[in-house]
């Protein structure tokens, strides 16, 4: 089950980012990975964290390849929250807002983890490919995809 390795020192602060929908569902499926941490959740739809009892949380603007113009605004909101929360790590299961969060974190020298969606069973998502430049740990949930992409594989949510 969940590793209960002793955390020396104070709990790690983790900002966990996922867009509404499947990305958020996958983040929730991985919640136990940050059970010992001081977590701030971030998503794009305000009813979601309440439904999953994910507290505390922040809402960030949604953006995708069809609404790229919202990207800079999303990045500013994320920057504000990272400066305020000062996480030790930012983790994301996608999509583009999560990639932006990793990018902002990278600039601020905060460690970053990208977990590519299990939906990408044949090749990594566009965001996942771009995350190569900003993720300290970049995971695919498929061994063959990880190998082809030069990412890591540790397991999958199901």
């Amino acid at each position: 089950m969940i590793s209960t390795r002793s955390n020396t020192g104070p709990p790690k602060r983790v900002l966990a980012v996922a867009s509404a929908g499947g990305h958020w569902q996958q983040l929730m499926a991985l919640r136990s990975a940050v059970a010992n941490c001081d977590v701030l959740f971030a998503t794009t739809l305000k009813e979601l964290p309440e439904e999953f009892d994910a507290k505390p949380f922040i809402i960030i603007p949604d953006c995708n390849r069809n609404a790229l113009w919202l990207g800079p605004w999303a990045a500013i909101v994320i920057l504000f929250h990272i400066l305020r929360f000062r996480p030790d790590a930012v983790i994301s299961t996608g999509a583009l807002p999560g990639l932006l969060a990793l990018g902002v974190a990278r600039v601020l020298r905060v460690r970053t983890v990208w977990i590519d969606s299990i939906a990408n069973a044949e090749e990594m998502s566009m965001s996942g490919k771009l995350a190569r430049r900003v993720a300290d740990l970049r995971l695919s949930q498929w061994k063959h995809v990880a190998d082809a992409e030069g990412a890591d594989y540790m397991g999958a949510i199901i």
Binding site: G22, A33, A119, A121, W142, G155, I157, I158
Partner: protein, 183 residues
């Protein structure tokens, strides 16, 4: 009641049309969350975008859920233990930007309670079954491995908010220095 959900990002008229026809033939109630699809489906109870609470309630009440091959839907079906019929969006029909939904469908074909229809013509036979299996999948060893791996990575990080310069200090000292001196 049948619940049709195709996510909120892209319309899926091929599937909506098939369910509209099913509803007309069978007289069974079909609630449909179809996002921005502007075509009219006279036999569907259309909800454009549901709030999460309404979505969950409808999902739980459904006899069968019909959906595109979205991971969110598969995980929700697992959570509520409902039978799920999946019709993957196909790239060649202009239904998604690539064929990853077909790949998802193939990758998950061994999950109990997940039923696939590549063509909408296969739906009727599935929908008429009175007791389709609900989705059930246990969290596997793969799940524990992933959770432990991420957990371990995070626990190995150096925490520097207790001692050493915080983010603000690091940010501003970095901005204040010539670039070569940073690393």
């Amino acid at each position: 009641m049948i619940f049709l959900t195709v996510g909120t990002q892209l319309a899926f008229p091929r599937l909506a049309k098939a369910l509209d026809e099913y509803a007309a033939r069978s007289n069974e109630e079909v609630i449909a969350q179809i996002g921005d699809d502007t075509e009219s489906y006279p036999n569907l109870d259309v909800r454009r975008i549901m709030k999460p609470a309404e979505f969950a309630e409808t999902f739980q009440r459904a006899r069968i859920v019909v959906a595109h091959a979205g991971i969110g839907t598969i995980l929700t079906a697992r959570q509520h233990q409902r039978p799920l019929i999946i019709v993957p969006r196909r790239h060649e029909l202009g239904e998604h930007r690539n064929d990853h939904q077909v790949a998802t469908a193939k990758a998950f074909c061994d999950i109990t309670g997940l039923h696939f229809a590549m063509e909408t013509s296969e739906l009727d036979a599935l929908l008429r079954q009175p007791d389709l299996d609900p989705v059930s999948v246990d969290y596997s060893a793969r799940h524990d491995d992933l959770v432990n791996g991420i957990s371990e990575f995070i626990s190995m990080l150096k925490t520097d908010h207790k001692d050493g310069p915080g983010l603000f200090a690091r940010l501003f000292s970095r901005l204040g220095q010539p670039r070569a001196a940073v690393k």
